[in-house]
């Protein structure tokens, strides 16, 4: 990072933007800051993953020569040793501290697997996932690296969705459980915004909450919503009265939107865009189930509305990414929109000629929108800079 900065500073001096004296001050300040040694930890992350996978494989091999008691005692000794190393590592450099925090949190997987094996436990996956989430939470909360907080958030989502679809007994039960599951990404996003200005959680845990919350809102809910719009059948679900459970994710979405609007240290336009994204994604997902009249539309009309909703939600995501200066998310969002555009034309028009003409016209319209958007973005940035 310093090497990169030196190169930039040399260019700034050459162009007369800063003096040599200021350049030295900047470099001295950057050099004095604690380095997170992220390159070293990136490699360590691979090592940690290999170690944990290795331990789990050893457990899975189920050695006959060791008694069940020996295996469990062995596990506790290893887990306690990792705990002791964590305590020791807290006073050490970033690298060792993070290695032991991650190993300590992830090693609980080996313990859960071992107990399941010893007692021949055959139970739904979400129970094991939930238990690991509880055991690993303290370590995930103190981690300053990306691995454990990201895995924790990803597991939380996998856990709640696995619970929603594993063992639901009736249509109402599926609706109730999936409504609760759909609330989690919203709550994760709300927690991110709420804790951001208050400095309540470690930066990496907060970042993971937002990353996985938004990932679930965009990558999971939009394809699901698209399918709901296209397939119809909402009025059958509406008649059963089970749509009342949708009030749960709507409450979570409202909470997330309020948290986004009330977030500290954020640009006003970004707050509005994020809150709009949350509400739009929820509306897109739930409207086909809440408005039974939509079922009376023709299939192509429903498909068109589904595609339109998809593009609107992803466009808001692209706008938020642009305002937050997140180039990667912006690129992904625009790529997804482009793909959906092409699919929509084939869905709606069917024949190659009409699809071709439609794509040419919309291509021109998109370019015009792009030019307008670019102008608008520059204005927003200028205004934000005062």
């Amino acid at each position: 990072m310093i090497i990169n900065l030196r190169r930039r500073i040399a260019e700034w001096i050459q162009r007369g933007i800063i003096s040599e004296e200021i350049a030295e001050k900047i470099l001295a300040f950057e050099a004095s800051r604690e380095s997170k040694a992220w390159i070293g930890f990136g490699i360590a992350g691979v090592g940690i993953t290999a170690l944990i996978t290795g331990f789990i494989s050893i457990v899975a091999a189920n050695w006959e020569s060791l008694s069940d008691g020996t295996k469990i005692v062995g596990y506790f000794v290893a887990q306690s040793l990792l705990g002791a190393l964590l305590v020791w590592g807290m006073k050490k450099r970033f690298f060792w501290r993070e290695v032991f925090i991650n190993l300590f949190g992830l090693f609980f997987w080996a313990g859960i697997a071992l107990v399941g094996q010893v007692y021949n436990i055959d139970e739904p996956a979400w129970r094991s996932l939930s238990f690991w989430l509880v055991l690993a939470l303290p370590a995930a909360l103190i981690a300053n690296s990306r691995l454990l907080p990201s895995l924790w958030c990803a597991t939380a989502l996998a856990d709640v969705f696995s619970w929603a679809f594993e063992g639901a007994s009736s249509g109402e039960d599926i609706m109730r459980r999936s409504s609760i599951a759909a609330s989690l990404p919203m709550l994760m996003t709300a927690l991110f915004f709420w804790s951001k200005g208050r400095n309540l959680l470690q930066e990496e845990f907060r970042a993971a909450l937002l990353r996985f919350g938004l990932l679930a809102i965009l990558a999971v809910s939009t394809p699901m919503a698209d399918m709901l719009w296209s397939s119809g059948g909402g009025h059958y679900i509406y008649k059963t009265g089970i749509t009342r459970h949708l009030s749960i994710p709507w409450a979570a979405a409202a909470l997330a939107a309020i948290a986004a609007l009330a977030a500290r240290e954020s640009v006003k336009q970004l707050k509005i865009a994020t809150a709009t994204l949350i509400v739009a994604a929820m509306a897109y997902l739930t409207l086909p189930l809440m408005i039974p009249a939509l079922d009376h539309l023709l299939e192509t009309q429903r498909m068109f509305l589904g595609a339109l909703g998809f593009i609107v939600v992803w466009s808001i995501a692209a706008a938020s990414a642009a305002l937050a200066d997140r180039k990667r998310l912006y690129d992904v969002a625009t790529f997804v929109i482009a793909c959906r555009f092409i699919v929509a034309y084939f869905q709606v028009f069917g024949s190659l000629t009409t699809t071709g003409v439609g794509l040419v016209i919309s291509g021109a319209v998109i370019l015009a929108i792009g030019a307008f958007w670019d102008r608008l973005r520059r204005k927003v940035i200028q205004r934000a800079r005062g």
Binding site: I56, V59, A60, A61, N62, W63, E64, I72, F76, Q79, S80, G83, A84, L86, V87, M90, F104, F108, W109, G111, I112, A113, L114, V115, G116, Q117, V118, Y119, N120, I121, D122, E123, S128, F131, V134, L135, A136, P138, A139, I142, G167, S169, S170, D173
Partner: protein, 169 residues
């Protein structure tokens, strides 16, 4: 960070894990043994390794029904070393504790009555020789007072399955 807080971060989850294992050990130790016939095959769990899975044959009283969230129970009568059959099957809420002190709690599904005892973990070394559950296989189940059951042993015609597998290698 406060050393006490770090200590708590380390000790609390380990203690929780110990509590879980302790509760399982106590429940298994206090349970009663029953022997049930089974039929099945050998898949693999990524985390826990190879296991054999099967359907437990509770006898003619236990019928295959659609999935139901409400817990179902089977009543059993231990017969020493002999195979046991269910004496009653129905909703746990309808179980008569006087006539049915020993019972297994589970759920009804399309696969039959499931009580979480439908798998038995085996060492990796025997996974090849135990591709399918051998004929005449039974499971020894420790049934806790709560109705939760744990497989403690798998037998093939009275012989422990690993002994049987060794002969098959």
């Amino acid at each position: 960070m406060n050393p006490r807080a770090i200590g708590l971060i380390v000790v609390a989850p380990i203690a929780l894990m110990a509590l879980w294992i302790g509760s399982l050990a106590v429940e298994v130790a206090q349970g009663a043994d029953v022997l049930l016939p089974v039929r099945g095959y050998d898949p693999r769990d990524i985390l826990r390794g190879h296991y054999v899975t099967y359907q437990v044959d509770y006898g003619s009283k236990v019928t295959r029904e659609s999935y139901d969230q409400d817990p179902r129970c089977v009543c059993l009568e231990p017969k020493g070393g002999a195979v046991t059959e269910a004496t009653w099957f129905g909703y746990c809420a309808d179980r008569d504790a006087g006539t049915c002190p020993l019972f297994i709690r589970g759920r009804s599904s399309y696969q039959g009555f499931l009580a979480g005892i439908e798998r038995f973990y085996i060492p990796e070394a025997y996974s090849e020789s135990l591709r399918t559950v051998p004929d005449g296989a039974t499971i020894k189940v420790r049934v806790a007072r709560s109705g939760r059951a744990y497989v403690t042993e798998m037998l093939v015609k009275g012989e422990p399955i690993l002994e049987y597998a060794k002969k098959q290698k």
